[in-house]
């Protein structure tokens, strides 16, 4: 339980109704089996910064939380005293459609703002399509560097965050970058905070570059008897001058969770390719890709558009949700390899799962070299040693290919035994120097990040 005096001070800052001490309320905010001593929901940046300042003075370990969709990421926290939720920090600070910029507070849900943007002027969007469509907040998306299939065309958060406001460990609110697309004044601090898992400061606000909604969007899905054929199409498309927005290779187990389910349960490997842009360009490219695809004898080809298309991509983005619902002790790995090694890594993961007799769902961003593997378990039981072995093998293979592995989700019990952040590299020393400089008291999320930060 939280020290009574500290809880009182918190209530003094944000009002007693925004300080949660009851066990039932705190349990929802569990991270890897650790229940915070108190949960707070500040109503303004000023309140947030006072809480952080107070927390630092009293050496409290603080973990930030947006939609809670990715709290399983990272190692088990060393300590977690306070969870600070951004629930009330969700204002649109500046929407400048003409300038193609928007500034938002961290607690804003991506789905909510995308919806609003689509109705603004001639329609805009933030070029991000990460998992957890409904729940993910911008702060969490940035802190975990979350991304989706359309990164192939648009890049990731680092490619369109123009500026940020961050609350430092000492409670100061600092501002970096701005509203302009070009900006080299000072260090590019935003880059440091993206993907930092809240270990260097609290992202309060971020300015994003907007894009106009494309005129047209279509998806081509090819069904193949094996991954090899799907990758042949991928390899034919990569060196072409076609402009794809996404290209996903999906294993049969993974595909069984896709929507609309009437089409997906065929036991095949899927290749899903998204194209967006001006109508003429989309039409021509879909036609051309169909032609290329046919050369590799697909079992079927179909074009999706409109609502069905939306349903499909959303289900792919959120694939782990139904999986975790059924198999609550699952592990999800994110493996990144050089582009040309994607096929080999895909095969390696499938082979590893087969050897150990694990149920494995596997899907990959074919044009980015990024794979996700879900090992699905109801319980770990005596399978733990085999799981550890499998992850170590995949990690070693990824490293051998000059790539990396991150365990995005795992039961807390197995985390200490696996390389959650992959193999530690020499970088670790520099990371620790930076952490030490910005959060000397190790106040923020201690122990969860790379190198034990």
């Amino acid at each position: 339980m939280m020290d009574h005096g500290f809880a009182e001070k918190l209530a003094g800052i944000i009002g007693v109704e925004n300080v949660f001490q009851a066990e039932e309320a705190r349990k929802i905010y569990t991270v890897d089996g650790l229940i915070p001593k108190v949960v707070v929901q500040p109503r303004s940046p000023e309140e947030a910064r006072q809480i952080i300042s107070l927390g630092q003075k009293e050496s409290q370990a603080i973990v930030f939380r947006g939609g809670g969709t990715k709290m399983r990421l990272g190692q088990v926290p060393h300590r977690m005293d306070l969870v600070l939720s951004t629930r009330h920090l969700k204002r649109v600070m500046d929407l400048d459609g003409e300038n193609l910029t928007i500034t938002l507070e961290a607690g804003m849900r991506l789905s909510e703002i995308q919806e609003r943007l689509s109705r603004e002027g001639s329609g805009y969007f933030i070029p991000l399509d990460p998992p957890f469509t409904e729940g993910a907040t911008l702060g969490g998306i940035l802190a975990t560097n979350s991304s989706g299939p359309k990164r192939l065309l648009y890049g990731t958060a680092r490619d369109f965050v123009l500026g940020m406001k961050v609350i430092q460990a000492d409670g100061k609110i600092t501002s970096f970058g701005g509203k302009t697309v070009k900006n080299v004044s000072g260090f590019d601090m935003s880059k440091l905070y993206i993907g930092s898992l809240g270990t260097l400061g609290m992202i309060l606000e971020a300015t994003f570059r907007l894009l106009p909604l494309p005129e047209e969007e279509k998806t081509l899905i090819g069904f193949f008897p094996d991954a090899g054929k799907a990758f042949k199409v991928v390899n034919a498309l990569l060196p072409s001058q076609l402009v794809l927005s996404s290209m996903e290779v999906i294993s049969p187990n993974a595909a069984s969770y896709l929507q609309p389910d009437t089409m997906m349960k065929k036991g095949n490997y899927l290749l899903a390719i998204g194209i967006e842009g001006v109508g003429k360009a989309v039409a021509r490219q879909i036609g051309e890709i169909q032609g290329i695809g046919k050369q590799f004898q697909p079992l079927g080809l179909m074009v999706l558009e409109g609502e069905e298309q939306g349903v499909f991509w959303r289900s792919l983005r959120d694939l782990t949700l139904p999986m975790m619902h059924l198999f609550t002790q699952s592990l999800v790995l994110k493996i990144s390899v050089p582009l040309s090694k994607t096929e080999a890594m895909f095969a390696f993961v499938e082979e590893t799962a087969r050897k150990e007799n694990f149920l494995c769902a596997l899907w990959a961003h074919g044009g980015s070299g990024i794979l996700r593997a879900a090992f699905l378990f109801h319980s770990l039981g005596e399978k733990s040693p085999a799981i550890v072995r499998a992850i170590q093998q995949i990690s070693a293979q990824a490293n051998g290919m000059e790539g990396s592995l991150v365990v995005e989700s795992a039961p807390a019990s197995i985390k200490p035994k696996i390389p959650v952040w992959g193999q530690e590299k020499k970088n670790g020393a520099v990371f620790r120097q930076i952490k030490s400089a910005l959060d000397p008291g190790a106040c923020f999320s201690p122990g969860r990040f790379v190198g034990g930060i």
């Binding site: 400048d96 459609g97 003409e98 300038n99 910029t101 001639s122 329609g123 890049g155 680092r158 490619d159 430092q168 100061k172 600092t174 501002s175 302009t180 697309v181 070009k182 900006n183 080299v184 004044s185 000072g186 260090f187 590019d188 601090m189 440091l192 993206i194 993907g195 894009l211 106009p212 909604l213 060196p239 072409s240 001058q241 076609l242 842009g277 003429k280 360009a281 021509r284 490219q285 050089p338 582009l339 070299g369 290919m401 790539g403 990396s404 991150v406 952040w421 590299k425 020499k426 970088n427 520099v430 990371f431 120097q433 930076i434 030490s436 400089a437 910005l438 990040f449 790379v450 190198g451």
Partner: protein, 468 residues
């Protein structure tokens, strides 16, 4: 400056690492490597020309041990004083580390040494059907290492981004001489985004010795338009209107009358001498639908009173048109011997307002100002022309430059879009950063370089407060 005995020892120690012919220490050499494309100058103790990462590391270990400042140097085209040895010390010049180590098409990557000229990489990729997106106007001579330090852009950054969006990994030498790889050919390396932090840090945190770049397939089709306007205001309003209509061209550049004249006199690109402003607009990508997009753009230009729109109908015409834009900075030497180029960047919609402010400033200080810039991303480049031999003019130039930056900051812009803070804009940092913001950046600097030896007196005020 070091006393003669220490200096002699330094030179001997450096020679032992890189060889006698790779250490420059006579007066003409020290002068040559003590200036860049800015108005600043300083004298180093010595210049070294390493050939390998190990040599760079050994040099840095030595200077670190001896507490001697260092600055990495590419081609010295830096416009803000970033390349000059402001605190003396050793210039580490990368002219001999200029190899393209690998072009890896299946992985869409190129591995290069930092001394490679940007254009040389482009020329190596072009016959293979690939390109490296950041194409600064200085590309004929600027190096990729320098591009990393400054986070260089180029006319195509409107659509494709800047250096930080195309650098995936680097081998760096840290301030204590340690060699470190960060990032690689694969995406999303776990941990903090050191690459993102290093790009644009102006050589003050670490020194890159190898770079892994993203290369891309050339676009299928390109369409280049030249739009001729009778007013700067109409041209700059058109810029905003094109983007506002949901069209993101690959590039949107602007030149005004003064620049047009200089360019025509030197390059004869076919620009009309009586126009107040021209826009170069380029579309690229899939051919289908491009004609319609171009038509939309022409309509928007017409709505903003364009005089004429020309389309480059051959690759030759296109290259000529671009030669004019890329040679602009050099061409103004015909008009006056020196220039100060401002690098303020503003939200696109504020362009007309800020451009008229620039004209006002020119009149106020009785200075000729030419404008050639990346209108699409709001990155201005007012070229303030003068003769450095006239001290009164130089003083007015600095004040004019400062006022322009202030105007940019006031409309929600920033003081440097791509040329860096260097030594030149340290004072103006307070226009866009609070003391708390600065404190955080200083902590980061200190975490990397506690002794403040790596390119000191740049970007941030020194610890004692105030610029050098």
């Amino acid at each position: 400056m070091l006393d003669p005995r220490r200096r002699k020892k330094l030179i001997r120690d450096l020679q032992a690492i890189v060889g006698k012919d790779a250490v420059l220490h006579t007066a003409p050499h020290l002068e040559t490597y003590g200036y860049d494309a800015s108005l600043f100058q300083a004298k180093p103790e010595a210049v070294v020309l390493p050939q390998s990462t190990e040599e760079v590391s050994a040099v840095v270990q030595l200077t670190h041990r001896e507490r001697i400042p260092i600055v990495a140097r590419g081609s010295g085209t830096n416009l803000s004083g970033g390349s000059i040895p402001a605190a003396g010390g050793v210039v580490i010049h990368f002219s001999r580390m200029n190899r393209i180590l690998e072009i890896d098409l299946p992985n869409q990557r190129a591995i290069v040494e930092p001394g490679v000229f940007n254009l040389d990489l482009q020329n190596a990729l072009s016959p293979l059907g690939y390109l490296y997106a950041p194409d600064p106007a200085s590309q004929k001579v600027s190096t990729l290492g320098g591009n990393l330090g400054e986070n260089s852009g180029g006319p195509h950054c409107l659509k494709y981004g800047v250096t930080t969006n195309h650098l995936l990994g680097a081998e760096v030498v840290l301030p204590n001489g340690d060699i470190l790889w960060t990032g690689g050919k694969a995406l999303d390396p776990p941990g903090y985004d050191l690459i993102g932090l290093l790009v644009g840090s102006e050589g003050t945190l670490a020194i890159a010795t190898k770079m892994i770049l993203r290369i891309m397939r050339k676009p299928e089709a390109v369409k280049t338009l030249l739009a001729i306007f009778n007013s700067l205001y109409d041209a700059s309003s058109t810029v905003s209107a094109i983007i506002g209509a949901g069209i993101i061209p690959a590039t949107l550049e602007m030149m005004d009358r003064l620049i047009i004249k200089a360019v025509e006199d030197s390059i004869h690109a076919g620009y009309p001498l009586d126009a107040e402003a021209v826009l170069i607009i380029e579309l690229d990508g899939i051919r289908d639908g491009m004609d319609e997009l171009a038509q939309k753009i022409i309509e928007i230009c017409r709505r903003h009173k364009v005089r004429e729109v020309r389309e480059a109908t051959s690759e030759e015409e296109r290259v000529k048109l671009w030669a004019g834009r890329k040679g602009a900075f050099g061409a103004v030497a015909r008009l006056r011997p020196n220039y100060l180029v401002s690098d303020g960047t503003v939200p696109r919609t504020k362009l007309p307002e800020v451009l008229s402010k620039v004209i006002e400033v020119g009149k106020k200080y009785d200075l000729e100002i030419g404008n050639v810039f990346h209108a699409g991303d709001g990155n201005l480049h007012p070229l303030i022309l003068f003769d450095a031999r006239n001290p009164d003019e130089l003083e007015r130039v600095h004040r004019a430059g400062s006022e322009i930056l202030k105007a940019c900051a006031e409309v929600g812009g920033t003081i440097s879009g791509e040329h860096g803070i260097g030594a030149e804009k340290i004072q103006e940092m307070s226009l866009v950063f609070s003391p708390d913001d600065m404190a955080v950046m200083k902590k980061v600097k200190k975490a990397f370089d506690p002794l403040d030896l790596v390119n000191p007196r740049k970007v941030l005020e020194d610890a004692k407060g105030g610029a050098a």
